[in-house]
Symmetry: C2
Subunit: 112 residues, 2 copies
DNA sequence: TTTTATACCTAAAAATCTTAGGTATGTTTG
DNA sequence: CAAACATACCTAAGATTTTTAGGTATAAAA
């Protein structure tokens, strides 16, 4: 990812969510989709992307399917049922995280 | 920090912001304040806290002042002018990050 | 034909955090 | 009073994640 260090720990959330929306995607496509949907704010680097995808697959959250396009091979990823569940968890965790951060950054003064 | 990996990269933002609110604080106090203000969601660990404070000090964003309490020494931290500026930057970066994440997690369908 | 785009990948290095300590004083509790 | 807990600082090894910087190969565009 690019721009700032805040993105650490959010890649998997982003990927799981993207796959929940799109059904199936391949890595190169994800790079472009993330750039586009974040209005250019986030730039997935391949060095972060592929290891993350491989870990998600190894954890049983994604399955893959290879598709030949001429002589090239595309590797499509898709959520497993466990992956769909993990996505929900991750997204709520992120929402919870944002709520807590907002408490910290804009604390309510004590009553009285 | 505790609970999830989303906090990576936010510690400095939190610390700078805390000091902007409180004027001056010492490390141990920050641990408790973060726990309290996040309603228990975030637990600053000392192994993350002290190195972060030292880096902020080394970068000229914080100054320190030692205060003797009986035989113990407390090390108070305070923002420098550069630190106050860095806080503003960090907080807007965080807001921007959240906006971009929301675009990604809840994309608007294309017009038409 | 050279460059750019598509499409996959890895490995070394940097950065950050967790875990697991260490040191020492002060206070509470059995 | 002794043991436990709280206050208060700190570091270092290990784990994890990401950046940087490549490598390989096909297809399209300039």
């Amino acid at each position: 990812m690019k721009t700032n260090e805040l993105l650490k720990g959010t890649i998997k959330t982003i990927l799981l969510n993207l796959l929940a929306e799109q059904g199936r995607m391949y890595g190169y496509e994800m790079v472009q989709k993330v750039r586009q949907q974040s209005a250019g704010a986030f730039e997935l680097t391949e060095g972060a992307l592929y290891p993350a995808l491989h870990k998600l697959e190894a954890s049983g959250l994604l399955t893959t399917e290879k598709v030949h396009i001429g002589k090239r091979v595309r590797k499509y990823y898709r959520l497993t049922p466990a992956g769909a569940k993990a996505r929900e968890t991750k997204v709520s965790e992120f929402a919870e995280f944002v709520r807590s951060m907002q408490l910290l950054l804009n604390p309510k003064p004590a009553a009285g």
